[in-house]
Symmetry: C2
Subunit: 461 residues, 2 copies
Amino acid sequence: MKQVIQALGTKLAHDQISDNDTVRELHSKDETYQQTSLPDIVVFPKSTEDVTHIMEIAQEYQTPVTPFGVGTSLEGHVIPYKNGITIDFSLMNQILEIKEGDLLVRVQPGVTREQLNKELKKYGLFFTVDPGANATLGGMAATNASGTTTVKYGVMRDQVRDMEVVLADGSVIHTGNLAAKSASGYHLNGLFIGSEGTLGCFTELTLQVYGIPEHIVAARATFPSLTNAIEAVTSILHAGIPIARVEFVDEASVEQINKFSETNYPVKPTLFLEFHGNESGLQEDLAFSKEIMQDHGCDHFNSETDNAARNRLWDARHNLAYAYIHDYVGKKMMLTDVAVPISELANSVIYAGEELKKLAIPGGILGHVGDGNFHSLIMIDMENEEEVKKAKQFNEKVVQYALERGGTCTGEHGVGVGKKPYQRVEHGAALDVMTNIKKALDPNNILNPTKIVDIDNEDKL
Amino acid sequence: MKQVIQALGTKLAHDQISDNDTVRELHSKDETYQQTSLPDIVVFPKSTEDVTHIMEIAQEYQTPVTPFGVGTSLEGHVIPYKNGITIDFSLMNQILEIKEGDLLVRVQPGVTREQLNKELKKYGLFFTVDPGANATLGGMAATNASGTTTVKYGVMRDQVRDMEVVLADGSVIHTGNLAAKSASGYHLNGLFIGSEGTLGCFTELTLQVYGIPEHIVAARATFPSLTNAIEAVTSILHAGIPIARVEFVDEASVEQINKFSETNYPVKPTLFLEFHGNESGLQEDLAFSKEIMQDHGCDHFNSETDNAARNRLWDARHNLAYAYIHDYVGKKMMLTDVAVPISELANSVIYAGEELKKLAIPGGILGHVGDGNFHSLIMIDMENEEEVKKAKQFNEKVVQYALERGGTCTGEHGVGVGKKPYQRVEHGAALDVMTNIKKALDPNNILNPTKIVDIDNEDKL
């Protein structure tokens, strides 16, 4: 590793390279229960050229490279299980260009979503994708992140027009162009997004943004049972109402919200909703949705047009994972993340809820039910082997249930190492195609090894 | 080739294999000016198993394989320049399942979009993507087709949840799942869609469908100049109005429409528009759009809510290419297909219009301007070498103009052979990544060779 540090020193400034223990420790983990592992070196590139140099050196010395944003991933994506070099993109955090006339922005990968939205607000624009964490846009692209607005605006993959990517050999490509659509060549944008650092490092992203909607109404609706709430969502989707957000939060999670965000929401199965549009269209959507929810037993409905009140509601929702973490000091968070076809949603959530009860580990169910995606969040005592085992079995059961019904093991968090055991059963022979692509683009397997695919079974955890 | 026919005969019925001259001739061309080339054999599979057998035999005898829908492609995609086997999917034309509750349908690749929509109508559903031709859904997926509703609903790639694909070695994979979103593994759906038969043959598709909107208004607006019309579109997009269709048709093309469709539209630069939504929201969108268009000099605005009148308007638009073909018997159609960022749209269309005038070849400009995508359609006398040369130079100029402004050489028709000369300049080093993927998935280059990428420069046309 000395040689690698020496080689890096010929290309990067001294303060861009660190083998300090604290720095390494900070780059040994993400936000969940996955086992930690230290990088040998952490580097802080300031430019695409820096990244190219790093990749060339890594290739020369066959050193694993793991890209790192702010470490908010949830399946161990950024944990360097084969050690080597971690590339921390925090110094590449510039918003390079806001192309108002094209509704596009060009950013470096270390820009966070909140940083971008703060800047966009000055132009009356916003970036739609909002995972709970204030993640970097590079990380969000790497995991194909999504969030509460996905039901209307789509996932990360839908927002990216172009990326600059440094490949395993240090060469630099662009994966797309700036037009709204293209049928030119293979869809590299789509391939690299969600590749979790296993095919290349993103050094620049051009993203689609939207005008802040003229009219926004947020709402909260409570139901006598989980089943009622989820069935209401299914009916809203079937009615084709262009809802902008529809989030489910179970009773245990409402309690956590109330504690952490100092709200006073009734402790009942709850939907958080939002509507965007022109004034009259929105009122009609709102009224129709309310009617549908009442048909499904909604016992309390409360809507907010005021900006501050809306923000408070969504901050409460976004802080929910942290609310659990805050309340269970010393425990680690595990999240299931299945997504299922709409017709299977109600039964899947009921199934997960019942299994969660049996588990007797603290946790709750929440999620982006408009996309058929929900999380069972559980707080595990990692010292308690029995509990860890039970939690893993629970995860497996929920995934198995979803896969048997045409769903996916991960709707939005990505594979990392946590969902790798389910890749073969989910993808079948298609996993071999993925492996072949990985081998073609990273023949020495230096890009975030151990994630998504196994190369020659050598890196099974 | 005799051996190949013999081998095919052991797996397929006699009437599923043809080397008849008329059949081969029908599979030697598409709808445009590209040079024709005959397949040696045409096969008609009835099942995935049949396709697997065909691929295994093709692999064994190193015979090129070209998939064929109904031959409506526009860049020579289905023309077998290396001869070999053409797989005609017309017998795989079953709608396998309509999953109303999931807003999904499962179809075989030979189902056409009109066939699907006719069936979906019974359920109050529709499939959004509408290229001019009544193409097969397999072909539309292979070229990442789009059309007039893309501005609201997206391209083909946005509609596909899952595909069954037979790979070069005959193995069968699924590229996705049935959930609305997924972050599991590499995005094979996205990669295979738009791969134009070069990575595999699609044998089944699961597609997203929508409820037929409750309220639809179509409209026609005329403008004193092309510039006014295009700038009106740019303003509508900037205003964030969720318009469902916005098509530009120039004066020459309106004349063709009037002749072919027996309409009596004023011969002026025209926008055809459509709005979908709830009643009051739609009225507000319509009024706002009208106001914007009037600000841009709109001198005639006419809206239609009646179903028959709307259909007549859109049929006229969809038949425009045929109108030209019908009027210029013996000539061949060439289409530019660039897409550019919104801010470049007006200037790009003006530039193409001016170059088209200089050309003095019959044609017009039309297109899906809401996506920044437009076509210059020209009718070429293929016997006139000078005209062919001038037409190719024109195509090149328009593409060059778009690429210099961050656009793409093809918004929706795909690469085939017609847009292959622009792949290197558009994609740069990314073309090598595409080539590596092709080599990894089709090492013997038997899948639709000569299309999209050049393998070892051996198959340059």
